[in-house]
C-alpha cells in the first residue's frame, strides 16, 4: 500500500482498562475509497478501537494519522469535525426527536448559526436552516427512510433505526464512516439492502470502516480486513486471503480446545 493512498493509519495503538489489555500494539492502514472490515471474536477489542479512534477514550500508546494529520488528544467533537463519523453497536439515536431532526443534528458540525443568529432569524440563518433541512431530507431518501421523516426515532423499525444512524453520521460529511455492527439483528433482506447501501456510500466517495459479525457480509463487501483477537492484530489483508489464514481460523473456531468447550457451554 503506497502512503499516498492512506486515509487513516493506526500505529502501535494500545489501551488498558485496569488489568485488561483491551488493545495492544495495533497497527493498520485504511486506504481512500475502500471498505475496510474490522473483525474478531467477541471481546477482541473492536469497539475499544472505535472508541479510541473517535476520541471517546484516549489511547495509552500509539498514534492515529488521519488525512495526513495526527488525531491524538482530540475530543470526540473535534474528531467528528476532522471527518470521522460513527454509528454505535447499541443504536444511540436521539430517541425523542424526529428522524429528520436526528439527521439535522448531524449537520451541526458543518453549520455555524449561533445564539444571535437563532434569535434574530437573520437571512443567513434562515437560508442555512433551509439548507440543513433539505440536506437532511435528501440523506433520509438516500438511506430509504424518508417516509418516516416526521416519526420519532424510537418509533422506527429496528432496521430503519440502523439506517437512520447511518444517515445521521453521513450528515457530518465524513471522509471516514465507521459503522459498529450495522447488520446486527437484521434479517436477510435488510442485510442485502444494507450491503447495497454500503456500496453506494463507497461509490459516492466515503471510505468505510466496518465492524461486523456477519462473515458473509464482510467477505462480500470488504476490500481488506483487520482481524483482532485479545486486543492484538492477528491478520490484515484482502478479505479472501485473511479468510484462509490459519491464525484467523483458530481464533474464530477456537482451535481444538474451544471446540470442546463449545459443546458443553
Amino acid at each position: 500500500m503506497s502512503h499516498a493512498l492512506a486515509l487513516l493509519s493506526g500505529k502501535g495503538i494500545g489501551k488498558r482498562f485496569g488489568g485488561l489489555q483491551a488493545l495492544s500494539d495495533v497497527t493498520f492502514t485504511i486506504n481512500h475509497g475502500e471498505i475496510f472490515g474490522l473483525i474478531g471474536p467477541n471481546g477482541a477489542g473492536k469497539t475499544s478501537l472505535f472508541n479510541v479512534l473517535t476520541g471517546i477514550y484516549s489511547q495509552d500508546g500509539g498514534e492515529f494519522t488521519f488525512d495526513g494529520l495526527p488525531l491524538t488528544g482530540l475530543k470526540p467533537h473535534e474528531v467528528a469535525a476532522r471527518g470521522i463519523a460513527r454509528t454505535f453497536q447499541n443504536i444511540r439515536l436521539f430517541a425523542n426527536l424526529s428522524a429528520l431532526e436526528n439527521v439535522m443534528i448531524g449537520r451541526h458540525v458543518r453549520t455555524h448559526a449561533g445564539v444571535w443568529g437563532a434569535i434574530s432569524r437573520s437571512a443567513a440563518t434562515r437560508s442555512e436552516e433551509a439548507a440543513i433541512e433539505k440536506r437532511a431530507y435528501e440523506l433520509l431518501e438516500y438511506v430509504g427512510v424518508e417516509k418516516r421523516a416526521n416519526a420519532l426515532a424510537k418509533h422506527l423499525a429496528y432496521g430503519d433505526q440502523r439506517r437512520l444512524e447511518i444517515a445521521r453520521a453521513l450528515a457530518t460529511e465524513p471522509k471516514l464512516l465507521a459503522l459498529d455492527e450495522p447488520a446486527a439483528g437484521m434479517n436477510a433482506t435488510e442485510t442485502a439492502s444494507l450491503k447495497r447501501l454500503l456500496g453506494d456510500i463507497r461509490h459516492d466517495g466515503t471510505t468505510i470502516l466496518l465492524i461486523e459479525h456477519d462473515m458473509k457480509l464482510v467477505m462480500s463487501v470488504c476490500d481488506r480486513v483487520l482481524v483482532l483477537d485479545y486486543g492484538k492484530k492477528i491478520a490484515e489483508g484482502p478479505a479472501a486471503e485473511v479468510q484462509k489464514d490459519p491464525a484467523v481460523i483458530a481464533a474464530y473456531l477456537g482451535g481444538e480446545v474451544t471446540l470442546n468447550l463449545k459443546g458443553t457451554a
Partner: protein, 359 residues
C-alpha cells in the same frame, strides 16, 4: 401549537386568534382591578414565574440538565438591582441600565455553576445545583460583615421602582379616562418582556443551538460523536437560563421594593421546577401553563377556602395553607400517574417538505 395558530395553514383563524389574545391581554388588568388591585399584583407575580420557568426550561427542558438551585440566579438579579437602585449604596441607576447588568452577572453565575458540573448528570447534578442555590442564599444572608454589601437578613429596603425620566411605574396616573395604577403599568411591561422571552425561546428551540441542546438531553455520547461541543453547549444553556432568571430577579426587586434572602429559599427553586415539570418539560406553552396554574391556584384557594368552609361546616376546619399544600402534593402525584410528561407534553415538530420528492 395547534394548527389554529399556524399562519401558513390557516391565516385568518390565526390572525383572529392572535387579535383576541392581544385584546384579552390588554383588557385583563382592568378586569382584575375591578376585583381588587391585589389580583393585578398576583398576576404580575405569576408573569414573573412564567419568566423564571421559561429560563429554567432552557436548562431542564431543552438541555436535560436537572437544576435544583435555579432561584439563585433570580436572587443574583434581584440583588444586583437592589444594590444599584436603592439608598443602600446611594446608587440610583435607571432600570434599563441595571437589567442588562443583572442579566450579565446572573449569566456569569450560570457559567460559574456550569463549569464544575459539566461531567455530572441526573442525581449528582441535582445535588450540586441544590447546594449552589443554598450557597448563594447563605452568602446574601452573611455578606453584611466585614463590609456591609447585602445588609444580611434585614434585606434591602426602599428599592427604586422602574422609571423613565419623570414616568414612574409606581405612580397612579389617569390616561384617556382610565386609571393606571402602579401594578397595571408593571403588568404591561411584564407582558412585553414575557412576549419577547417567548419569541426568543421558540426561536432558540427551533434552531441549530436548540437541536444541539436536545441532542445532549437525548444522548450525550452520541451528541459528542456527531460533532457537538457538549461543554460549550451546556455552559450556554446554563448561562442563558441564568440570564432570564437575572432579569426576572431585577423586576421582582423593583415591584416589591424590598428583598431579603428569605425570598430565595430552596422551596422557590422547587416551585419553579414543579411549574416546568407540571406544564410539560421542553414545551414552551406547557411551561407557561404550568407557571400560571401553580401561581394562581394557591391564591384562588387563599381567598375561597375559608368562605367555602364557613358556608358548608359553619366554621373553619382546615387552614387554607394546609389545603394548599395538600392539593399541591395531590396534583403532582396525579400528574406523575396520569400525565408523566406534563399537562402539555412536547410534541414532535412536524416538518413539511416543499415537494413530495419521495417516490
Amino acid at each position: 401549537m395547534g394548527s389554529l395558530f399556524d399562519p401558513k395553514e390557516n391565516p385568518r383563524a390565526a390572525w383572529i386568534g392572535l387579535a383576541l389574545i392581544a385584546v384579552a391581554l390588554v383588557a385583563l388588568p382592568f378586569a382584575l382591578a375591578e376585583i381588587g388591585t391585589a389580583w393585578v399584583r398576583i398576576t404580575n407575580l405569576a408573569i414573573l414565574f412564567v419568566l423564571l420557568s421559561l429560563g429554567l426550561n432552557i436548562v431542564v427542558g431543552f438541555a436535560g440538565l436537572l437544576d435544583l438551585g435555579y432561584i439563585a440566579f433570580y436572587a443574583v438579579g434581584a440583588y444586583v438591582y437592589a444594590l444599584l437602585a436603592s439608598p443602600h449604596f446611594n446608587l440610583h441607576l435607571p432600570f434599563w441600565v441595571i437589567l442588562p447588568i443583572g442579566a450579565a452577572v446572573a449569566c456569569m453565575f450560570g457559567a460559574l455553576l456550569g463549569a464544575p458540573t459539566l461531567k455530572l448528570r441526573g442525581d449528582y447534578l441535582a445535588i450540586v445545583t441544590l447546594g449552589f442555590g443554598e450557597i448563594v442564599r447563605i452568602f446574601m444572608n452573611n455578606l453584611s460583615q466585614p463590609v456591609n454589601i447585602t445588609n444580611g437578613p434585614q434585606g434591602i429596603t426602599l428599592i427604586d421602582p422602574f422609571s423613565i425620566g419623570d414616568f414612574s411605574f409606581a405612580k397612579t396616573e389617569v390616561f384617556f379616562g382610565l386609571t393606571f395604577t402602579g401594578p397595571i403599568k408593571y403588568y404591561y411591561l411584564l407582558v412585553l418582556i414575557v412576549l419577547a422571552v417567548i419569541v426568543i425561546n421558540l426561536r432558540l428551540q427551533d434552531s441549530r443551538i436548540g437541536r444541539a441542546w436536545e441532542a445532549i438531553r437525548e444522548d450525550e455520547i452520541a451528541a459528542r460523536a456527531m460533532g457537538i461541543n457538549t461543554r460549550n453547549m451546556k455552559l450556554l444553556a446554563f448561562a442563558m437560563g441564568a440570564s432570564f432568571g437575572g432579569v426576572s430577579g431585577g423586576i421582582f426587586s423593583a415591584t416589591q421594593g424590598f428583598i431579603s434572602p428569605e425570598s430565595f429559599v430552596l422551596v422557590e427553586s422547587v416551585m419553579v421546577l414543579s411549574m416546568v415539570v407540571l406544564g410539560g418539560m421542553g414545551n414552551i406553552w406547557g411551561v407557561i401553563l404550568g407557571a400560571v396554574l401553580l401561581s394562581f391556584v394557591p391564591e384562588v384557594l387563599r381567598y375561597t377556602v375559608e368562605p367555602v368552609q364557613r358556608a358548608v361546616f359553619g366554621r373553619m376546619l382546615i387552614e387554607p395553607e394546609v389545603i394548599r399544600m395538600l392539593l399541591f402534593g395531590l396534583a403532582l402525584v396525579l400528574m406523575m400517574l396520569f400525565r408523566p410528561a406534563g399537562i402539555l407534553p412536547s410534541a414532535v415538530r412536524k416538518r413539511e417538505f416543499e415537494a413530495k420528492r419521495a417516490a
